[in-house]
Structures are given as structure tokens and as C-alpha cells.
């Protein structure tokens, strides 16, 4: 398919899957690969620099989420490990108190699969449903939290449909019942302001790459006093909660990324929200029978998830890619399984609707020119595939 607009643009709109490391972050990391390579646990002077750098990074990450003490931050290898540590760590440590874990149907796979594992270990997991916009049913959650409940885990915002959850409200309920609340903030951190104290969050998962830091680093905030066991044992690094010699350059990078996110978040969120809405309204106006998945306003500034009737998401993605636009799909055929997205099914979409969805995640390099290009090519891309589809009503092709 040739672009009628002449020159093909390169428009990357898959920041949710992977973001480039900010050059300022990379610059901050570099000395820790070479000059300051020391192990923070060593006694000699070369280790000082590494120790100081980790302490600084810890402060920076703590301050991004309003944590009171830097020591409440534990560095990990990423969001998946943080989620594993939060769930398994709290479950194992509190086994005597009860065996119920309350979570939601739209959590990330690194929560859901840990829950499946814990179920096999004898824990009982309750999955709270969401409404058509993906907002957690707080009433049902409240009912599910009983005296045997040892943990509530709800994501801050859903990375696929962008919906932001009422965390402060859930935090209120959990705190009142004396049950720790874990929040997976992988998609939300650096996009929207998070305050673990005000929102009564006890554990919070963060990923470095989602803050434009390096991949392979993450963190778990663990409020002072929360009882948790380590899942990785060894030399007792990270207050015994995450053994293994520290990934110093990675941690420094995450610290720098958190610092930049804190400074630039407000302006960037405003800019991205404007571009996001331009993309959403542009496509909805120009493509008949297209719909927005997720909440219209209570959503991440960088997330636009759109659904197109009668066509399949992966075919849309390949068509867009041939025009230089890189997006993602919640749909089966791009992932390793053939199942449609559990999130799209949870908000009540039918299988074929879930299959026809495209996820655009915007980022630092996204600009108006790129967004306008996508809005221009989208009607043609959808129309071409609809003309091929046996499901398309004849009227639509006229």
C-alpha cells in the first residue's frame, strides 16, 4: 500500500511496550559501567561511590511517589519481579493470618499468573469485576475483603485501556480493614501524580523503562511496618528483601529517570493529553463504526485504545506498519497465545470486537505532525481491510 500523502512518516506509538532510554539517563549511567564499577557491599573506597549513587537513586524514586523514607524502596529487576515479590512475599509471610487475596480481573499477567500459582499453593484469590470502562467495582471489592484477607492488589491504571482506578478510595477501605494494599503502578508512574501516603498505598510496583530509564530495573515500595518475606535469598542486599549484587548502572538510571519524570510530568502530561484527544477524536470522526475502549476522561494521558468493527487488529497493525506507524494490539495474533485480551473481554467486549482493537501509546517524541499523519491514514487502512472482510455490511463500503 503506497502512501497517498507522498512521503512516509515514521510514527512510533508503542511506548507502553518499550520506551527509549532518555539520553540524560544514559549519561548518568555511563560512569557506573566503567570508572565507578565497584560493588556497593565492598569495604574499600571504590565501593563508596556506588553506595552513594544507590542511596541517591533510592531518594529520587521515593520522592516520585511521595514515600516518606528512601529505605521503603527496594530495587528489583523490573515490574514483573516487583509484582512477584509483593504478592508472594506478603502471602508467604502472612499465611497464619489468612489465605485470601483480593485482586481484579484486569490486572497485568504478572499479577494474574502469580495469583494462579498462589491458588495452587492453597491461597484463595477473589477477582473483582470492572464496569464497561474498566473501572473496578469498589462495592464488590469492599464485600470481598473479609477477616481472612491478607492482601488487596489493584493496578493504578490499566496499561491496555488506560483507565485510572479509584486508588485513594480503595486505599481507604483496605487501611480501615487493616489489610495491606498493593498497587501495580507500572503504566501510571511518571504519567500521573502518585502519593503513596495520601492514597494509603502499602506496596507499589514501578518499572524503570516506563519512566524512560533502562530496561531490566524496577522497584517495589514497601511501607515501613508491612510484613513481607523475600522471594530471592542470598547475600541480603536491599534490606534482605532482594539478594544479589546490585545492578548499579541500572539503579542509577532508574533514579535519574524518576528525577526527570518528577520535574517534567506535569507539562508532559498536559501535552500528551492534548495529542491523545486529537488522535482519538480525529479517528472517531473520520472512521465510521470506530469506538474508544476504556474511560473517556479518567484515562492515562498517553493511552488511546480504539476499536474498529469488522476488521482484525493484527491486520490493522501490519497495514499501519507498512505506512510507518508502529502501534500495538490487545489482540490475540500478536501475542504468544491466541486468546483475545482478558482486559477487553472483562469490559464486556465480544471476541470479535476485542480482536479489532488497536492500542496507541504516546510518548516524549510524539508530536502533532505524527498524530495528524495517523489520523489521515487510518480511514484508508480500515476501509481496505473492511472491503476484504465478509463481516462488513455492504452499506458501509459505499
Amino acid at each position: 500500500m503506497r502512501s497517498k500523502e507522498g512521503r512516509k512518516l515514521k510514527v512510533y506509538l508503542d511506548y507502553g511496550a518499550a520506551a527509549p532510554t532518555d539520553p540524560r539517563v544514559l549519561e548518568a549511567m555511563m560512569p557506573y559501567f566503567t570508572e565507578h564499577f565497584g560493588n556497593p557491599s565492598s569495604v574499600h573506597s571504590l565501593s563508596h561511590k556506588a553506595r552513594e549513587a544507590i542511596a541517591e537513586a533510592r531518594e529520587s524514586v521515593a520522592s516520585l511517589i511521595g514515600a516518606e523514607e528512601p529505605e521503603e524502596i527496594v530495587f528489583t529487576s523490573g515490574a514483573t519481579e516487583s509484582n512477584n515479590l509483593a504478592l508472594k512475599g506478603v502471602a508467604i509471610r502472612n499465611r497464619e493470618r489468612g489465605n485470601r487475596i483480593v485482586t481484579t480481573v484486569i490486572e497485568h499477567i504478572s499479577i494474574l499468573n502469580v495469583c494462579k500459582y498462589l491458588t495452587r499453593q492453597g491461597f484463595e484469590v477473589v477477582y473483582v469485576p470492572v464496569d464497561q470502562y474498566g473501572v473496578v467495582d469498589v462495592g464488590r471489592l469492599e464485600e470481598a475483603v473479609d477477616e481472612r484477607t491478607i492482601l488487596v492488589s489493584v493496578m493504578y491504571a490499566n496499561g491496555e485501556i488506560g483507565t485510572i482506578e479509584p486508588i485513594a478510595e480503595i486505599g481507604e477501605i483496605a487501611r480501615e480493614r487493616g489489610v495491606p494494599l498493593h498497587v501495580d503502578a507500572t503504566a501510571a508512574a511518571g504519567k500521573v501524580p502518585i502519593d503513596v501516603v495520601r492514597e494509603k498505598i502499602d506496596l507499589l510496583t514501578l518499572s524503570s523503562n516506563d519512566l524512560y530509564g533502562p530496561k531490566g530495573v524496577g522497584a517495589l515500595y514497601i511501607r515501613k511496618g508491612v510484613k513481607i518475606s523475600p522471594i530471592i535469598h542470598g547475600g541480603g542486599q536491599e534490606r534482605g528483601l532482594r539478594s544479589g549484587s546490585e545492578n548499579v548502572p541500572g539503579i542509577v538510571g532508574m533514579g535519574k529517570a524518576a528525577e526527570l519524570a518528577r520535574e517534567e510530568m506535569e507539562a508532559e502530561a498536559e501535552r500528551l493529553t492534548r495529542l491523545r484527544d486529537r488522535l482519538i477524536s480525529g479517528i472517531l470522526e473520520r472512521v465510521p463504526e470506530s469506538y474508544l475502549n476504556g474511560h473517556p476522561t479518567q484515562r492515562l494521558p498517553n493511552n488511546a485504545n480504539l476499536r474498529f468493527s469488522y476488521v482484525e487488529g493484527e491486520a490493522l497493525l501490519l497495514s499501519l506498519d507498512s505506512l510507518g506507524v508502529q502501534a500495538s494490539s490487545g489482540s490475540a495474533c500478536t501475542s504468544k497465545t491466541l486468546e483475545p485480551s482478558h482486559v477487553l473481554l472483562a469490559i464486556g467486549l465480544k471476541h470479535e470486537e476485542a480482536h479489532g482493537s488497536v492500542l496507541f501509546t504516546l510518548g516524549r517524541d510524539t508530536d502533532e505532525r505524527g498524530i495528524d499523519y495517523v489520523v489521515r491514514v487510518m480511514p484508508r487502512v480500515v476501509r481496505r481491510l473492511r472491503a476484504m472482510s465478509p463481516l462488513t455490511p455492504k452499506e458501509l463500503l459505499r
Binding site: E312, S322, P390, L391
Partner: protein, 119 residues
């Protein structure tokens, strides 16, 4: 990729001699193949597909492969032959070529059934 971006034989044949529809809602694929038969050969063939890139490419490829063939020859086109013509498909996409082969075979069976009924 070429068969996805520039698929051959897209469309319907209103007065088709045989029509075969197969669907796999799990992967979100659905395919219809229309054939026109003259003197025991596939004179014309068209398809409509709802599905991923591989599903569209395999539909396009199988219509190219079947065109002009006798019904016996066309019945012998397997999913592996379609995948091979496309230069291979990843294992998770093999069901797409399976689907294309099934749709073609079903269209031929439909033609034979209609012919049988006329007699």
C-alpha cells in the same frame, strides 16, 4: 507480506457455483471462498477474510494456487503447500493456512453437492 498488502482475488462471486465458509472465533478468523467451475476446472475464485495478516495472505495465496486447477487437483492443496508457497509461516499461524485449505475444500464440496442435487 506482498500477499497481505496486495491480496489477489478479493471479493465475492454473486452467482458462484460453490461457496465455502470456515471460521475460528478463538483467533478471530473467518474466511469465505467463492468458486466458479467450468469443465471441471476452477475458472474463477474469490475470497473475503476477516482475520490477521497471515489469514489474509493465505487466502490470497490459495486462490492463486487453485485458479485454473481441476477440482481433483484443488482438493489436494494442503495447508503445508500454502504455507510453503508463502515462504513459511510461524507455527502459531499454521491454523490460518489450515483455514484457507478448509475453505477451498468446502467450496468444492458445496459445488459437488449442488451438482448432485440438480441431477
Amino acid at each position: 507480506m506482498d500477499h497481505f498488502l496486495h491480496p489477489r482475488n478479493v471479493g465475492e462471486i454473486p452467482d458462484a457455483d460453490g461457496v465455502g465458509t470456515v471460521g475460528n472465533p478463538i483467533c478471530g478468523d473467518m474466511m469465505t471462498i467463492y468458486i466458479k467451475v467450468r469443465e471441471g476446472r476452477i475458472a474463477d475464485i474469490k475470497f473475503k477474510t476477516f482475520g490477521c495478516g497471515a489469514a489474509i495472505a493465505t487466502s490470497s495465496m490459495i486462490t492463486e494456487m487453485a485458479k485454473g486447477k481441476t477440482l481433483e487437483e484443488a482438493m489436494k492443496i494442503t495447508r503445508d503447500a500454502v504455507a510453503e508457497e508463502l515462504g513459511g509461516l510461524p507455527p502459531i499461524k499454521m491454523h490460518c493456512s489450515n483455514l484457507a485449505a478448509d475453505a477451498l475444500h468446502r467450496a468444492i464440496e458445496d459445488y459437488l453437492k449442488r451438482k448432485g442435487e440438480k441431477k
